[in-house]
């Protein structure tokens, strides 16, 4: 009885898996070790340093169009921060604009109007099948770089001035006490979202009318209004650009580099977002629409309470990856000279000669942006998915 024939160790799954792990771990360690040894040798030969001490030294190179005030006397670390902020600035603006444009294109694509639908299709197919870098070159080198001199600016209603130095917009700027109004605006938005959620949950729980739409819209207006009054009348004034001689004064200026990168990223990503939104809306069963209509819901209610929440479940995951793509694609700015994270990092490599630390920092920042975005949106995604039991 006790003479049960044992499985030989070379066929025992436990041994095999342990061996596989040890072998693969050792292989990776050996590879890293080999790279490390080579690096130490190369570093000694070329007098390279791995330390991050250079971050405190003055950077000495200019950054055009910094998001926060910057001079060449500021440190490498600060220059790096400026680069990160420049990346975030174009990424955040791009994500918002691409979402709006993409949704509009998707709605046009789904429109019952044949002509509009085909124009949207042409937009989508054009942008999806050409490289982003080519699109970027078209927008930057043949549009924003070829604009007329300041004296002959193209003036669009607004007024918006387009010329060699960039694009000038009218922009509201807060006066000194304007922060009270701004705070009221933020408070209003937060209170409105909170009231909507609380009152709607109450309504769903008790069935009583809680007027959640009306109350939250009221909150959206009351808080900013109080802020407006407290700040003493007009909390902001419009900074209107105007042509004076050979200069544009006032207004918000976008450099040609920023404008080119922004437009290329937005149009390119919008085409992909349009496909995401379209497939999301089409994924909602037609019976849902018919049932909602049969219950007597209005067009707005059908869209906002039946179709859209269900479409959102399909839309969110691919949308996350589109947002991340846009953020990573901002690094193409290097090709046209908009100075964001990666191009600042590249200058820092040339100036400070610390390729490895700088690359580690650049990659860490991109990874952090990716991970945080993915984390936040995944949490949101989990909240809106079906609860299955």
């Amino acid at each position: 009885m006790s003479k049960v024939k044992q499985i030989p160790f070379y066929r025992d799954e436990r041994y095999l898996s342990a061996a596989a792990q040890v072998v693969s771990g050792l292989l990776v360690v050996a590879l890293l070790w080999w790279l490390g040894v080579n690096f130490v040798r190369a570093a000694e030969a070329r007098n390279l340093s791995l330390s991050f001490g250079f971050l405190d030294r003055p950077a000495g190179f200019p950054i055009s169009d910094p998001a926060i005030p910057y001079t060449t006397n500021d440190s490498f670390g600060y220059a790096f921060l400026v680069g990160v902020l420049n990346t975030l600035r174009v990424a955040v603006a791009g994500v918002v604009a691409a979402t709006v444009l993409g949704t509009m294109v998707a709605l046009a694509r789904l429109s019952s109007n044949w002509l509009l639908s085909k124009i949207a299709l042409a937009f989508i197919e054009f942008h999806r099948n050409i490289p982003l870098l080519v699109l970027l070159f078209i927008w930057y080198f043949t549009v924003f770089r070829e604009l007329p001199a300041v004296g002959e600016s193209i003036v669009l209603p607004g007024p918006i001035y387009l010329n060699q130095r960039g694009v000038y917009f009218t922009w509201p700027r807060l006066i000194e006490t304007g922060w009270v109004f701004a705070a009221g605006l933020v408070l209003g938005i937060l209170a409105s979202i909170a009231l909507w959620n609380i009152l709607r949950a109450r309504r769903e729980l008790t069935g009583k009318k809680t007027y959640f739409v009306e109350v939250s819209i009221a909150a959206l207006f009351v808080f900013p209004l109080v802020g407006w009054i407290l700040s003493g009348g007009e909390p902001f004034r419009f900074d209107v650009p105007s042509l004076q001689g050979f200069n544009i004064r006032g207004g918000l200026r976008l450099t040609p580099e920023f404008a080119g990168l922004f437009v290329a990223l937005v149009t390119y990503t919008a085409a992909f977002i349009a496909e995401v939104v379209r497939s999301g809306i089409q994924a909602v069963d037609r019976g849902q629409l018919e049932a909602a209509r049969a219950l007597g819901l209005s067009g707005f209610h059908v869209m906002s309470f039946v179709i859209f929440p269900q479409a959102l479940r399909v839309i969110i995951p691919p949308m996350i990856s589109q947002y991340l793509n846009l953020t990573k694609n901002t690094s193409l700015a290097l090709a046209i000279g908009y100075q964001e994270l990666f191009s600042v990092g590249k200058i820092a490599i040339n100036q400070a000669g610390r390729a490895v630390p700088v690359f580690l920092m650049v990659m860490a920042v991109y990874l952090m942006i990716s991970l945080i975005t993915a984390l936040v949106l995944n949490l949101y995604n989990r909240r809106i998915q079906f609860v299955t039991r």
Partner: protein, 406 residues
């Protein structure tokens, strides 16, 4: 009773619909005032856009930088006396296409016919051009002839499916050998990769990238799904790190920093470094695509295989992977399109790909600088045609493989 009912129903029928075309226009363009307004606005906008573009295209645009350098756009600085090697690669491709067409038909028939027609049109262009020498014309026209000939030969018994597949496997190595040549060979001189350029480099990078990344991607996907914590952790870390950073970062990492981590005598040329970066980048994405396919295989398959007494390697190689890979073929084509477009980024690290050639032509002459838009539109059009045809093919493939409908 039944008769009266039908009679009643007849009287409730709507008035007869207008004939097809008018009804279609009314339903799709002028249904309600909003729809009509949208149609009118977009029609006016479209009219101005198209008429202006046509005038520009035929009357104002300056296409000389494109007409002057067709060979530069195709192969870059590749020695002109060695161009026959590129021709050899294309002829071999035509042969393989023809064989495959006769064996598998379907999508390959379309690919063969399109490619053949394109070369036929190029070879028979009724214009005189310095690049279109008589021998070049003969070569271009010989390509569709080769395809047809191979299609015909492919029916003979000695050309088996197995052989054609083996030829496809050998083809990339054969092409690389022919294009690159061998050091010290008299017939096939070594052609330095610094001379390669244009579409040639774009295709080498995208096809090389997708072919080399495939096994790595499959290995990473299996590794990530492995039950062994060390293997799974290493694979996950690799995949997520690569996917979290932009491709340009990797291209620069490999072109600037890699040299520091290799032995001092290891010299990798620029194209190879770019290829390594693109391969590693697309391997991470390939891994995620393959993982999607692996997840779609119901666990019953694995359990059944286990019940039959198969071991882990057999289950993976014979049961799970073949099914998973079949599912992800269309996704892989999609990834190839992305990779094909992403190869433009190598221009930033100084490789003369298709876009890079365009940029250097533009910058070589002030007159061409005025024709930048034309050059970029030409480049965009070429990328567009290839990507669009590939995405069409991928859609056809999806239906013919019956993905999701079994």
């Amino acid at each position: 009773m039944a008769e009266t009912l039908t009679q009643q129903q007849d009287s409730y029928l709507p008035p007869p619909a207008p004939p097809g075309a008018i009804k279609w226009i009314r339903d799709n363009l002028f249904k309600g005032w909003l729809n009509t307004l949208l149609t009118l606005i977009s029609a006016v906008g479209l009219y101005f856009a198209i008429s202006r573009s046509l005038i520009w295209f035929f009357a104002q645009a300056d296409w000389t930088p494109i007409i002057n350098f067709p060979i530069l756009f195709s192969v870059g600085q590749y020695p002109r006396e060695e161009l026959w090697r590129i021709g050899g690669v294309l002829s071999a491709l035509a042969l393989l296409l023809g064989f495959s067409w006769s064996h598998w038909g379907g999508l390959l028939r379309g690919v063969s016919l399109y490619a053949g027609a394109m070369f036929l049109v190029l070879g028979a262009l009724p214009v005189s051009h310095p690049a279109l020498t008589p021998s070049m014309r003969v070569f271009l026209i010989s390509l569709p002839a080769t395809i047809l000939l191979a299609f015909w030969i492919g029916r003979w018994r000695f050309v088996s499916k197995r052989m054609v597949m083996a030829l496809w496997l050998v083809y990339p190595f054969f092409s690389l050998l022919l294009i690159r040549g061998l050091a010290g060979s008299a017939v096939l001189e070594l052609v330095s990769t610094t001379l390669w350029g244009g579409l040639l480099v774009t295709f080498v990078l995208s096809i090389g990238g997708i072919v080399i990344c495939f096994p790595i991607g499959v290995a990473l996907a299996l590794g990530r799904r492995s039950k062994l914590p060390v293997v799974s952790a290493i694979s996950t870390f690799f995949i997520e790190t690569i996917r979290g950073v932009p491709l340009i970062t990797l291209l620069f990492l490999f072109s600037v920093v890699l040299a520091l981590f290799l032995p001092p005598d290891a010299r990798l040329d620029r194209l190879l470094r770019a290829l390594i970066a693109m391969t590693i980048f697309s391997a991470a994405y390939m891994a995620e695509n393959v993982r999607g396919g692996l997840q779609a295989i119901p666990p019953g398959q694995e359990e059944a295989a286990k019940a039959l007494g198969m071991n882990g390697v057999q289950i993976t190689a014979l049961i799970v992977l073949p099914q998973a890979l079949r599912i992800v073929i269309p996704t892989i084509v999609g990834q190839f399109i992305t990779l094909f477009k992403d190869t433009t980024l190598v221009y930033i690290v100084g490789v003369n790909d298709f876009l890079g050639i365009g940029r250097s032509i533009v910058n070589s002459n002030p007159a061409y600088l005025q024709a930048q838009l034309e050059v970029y539109l030409f480049i965009a059009a070429i990328y567009w045609i290839f990507s669009y045809l590939m995405s069409l093919a991928s859609r056809r493939l999806e239906t013919s493989l019956g993905v999701g409908k079994r």
